[in-house]
């Protein structure tokens, strides 16, 4: 494990009825990875800066009633290296052209674009999964196939990489995928130490 040459910005989109663990899992992984690395190397840059983004600066009701204040809105946020699109109830988001266009635009400049759970529907709608392998929550596999026949939807897999676009299965699979991204962007060693700090049993498949 070496000192990070850069700090990568991890932007997590949140919206009405976003699934709590879909965004909180990746938030925990990337922020804990930064903390773990900063303890090991006193003079290192923090490897990840994590923030939430919503359509506007307003209190966002996540699924079950957790209320989250986004750090930024889509018209005014730092450059995003790693864009994370969580799932939840995405029906309304799929119909919002401004959001789908924002996802496509940010993704065109990102290093990584990743979805958790039904966030895959938003990536598909933004044209990011055309001709690619992808996955989603087990209960939504058939719907994703039916709505986006140009996507090769795979079941029974924790996450799938298709170039810079990564999709993960349901809810807690976003934690496993985020640990994989820590391994890929920083080091396997930091990912293992992050999982240990979280007392999380990392599922590689």
């Amino acid at each position: 494990m070496t000192a990070s040459p850069v700090t990568r910005n991890v932007g997590i989109y949140i919206f009405d009825e976003v699934e709590v663990l879909d965004f909180a899992g990746p938030f925990e992984v990337f922020s804990t990875a930064s903390r773990v690395k900063s303890r090991l190397y006193l003079n290192t840059l923090k490897p990840f800066e994590v923030f939430t983004i919503a359509d506007a600066i307003r209190s966002i009701p996540a699924r079950g009633g957790l209320m989250v204040n986004p750090n930024f809105d889509i018209s005014n946020h730092p450059a995003i290296d790693c864009l994370i699109i969580p799932g939840g109830v995405v029906t309304a988001e799929l119909k919002r052209d401004s959001i789908i266009e924002w996802i496509a635009r940010i993704s065109s400049k990102s290093t990584i674009t990743a979805s958790v759970c039904t966030g895959a529907f938003l990536l598909a709608k933004a044209g990011l999964l055309h001709g690619k392998n992808a996955t989603t929550h087990w209960s939504d596999i058939e719907d994703l196939r039916a709505m986006f026949p140009d996507v090769t939807v795979q079941a029974n897999i924790r996450w799938i990489e298709a170039g810079k676009v990564i999709t993960s299965a349901g809810i807690s699979a976003g934690i496993d995928m985020s640990l994989h991204l820590v391994a890929q962007l920083e080091s396997e060693d930091l990912a293992v130490k992050t999982a240990r700090q979280m007392e999380y049993k990392w599922s590689l498949s």
Copy 2:
């Protein structure tokens, strides 16, 4: 699995520098359990009503910068059946008499009082772990022993029940403990279905 005779209120305390997954994991488990059961039994009462509580109605900065708006404050919240005290940086909270007294008071009337990670320090300070078995994050085991010699601190265990007070190990162990509480308060079947909905590999030990 039968219809719930009651809805149990699950109150999760949040504070400055609370660990994100410590509160978001239990929030996800109890709210998903309610959703899963409501789908199976159309006319059932929801088994759990989950909400967050803070010292005041203000935006709470969780660890890493996630901003959460509490649903209630400690002077005005519904009765709590299941009190959840997450961890994080608890140094400041340990010095706040009003918070420690609130935890002790609510716990005297709760069905269950549970901690995640370093939340165990707050339960110990509130006198709830005197003479009892308890656990915390692996890196804080020695500190908990040193600060509270009247507590029998155990390592290498996912969670420990001591009557109605339950303590869990670090961060993601709160998810496993919450699934256990769903099994205990509702049914093993609902806990298994909740873990499956979350695509979470439930650790029983």
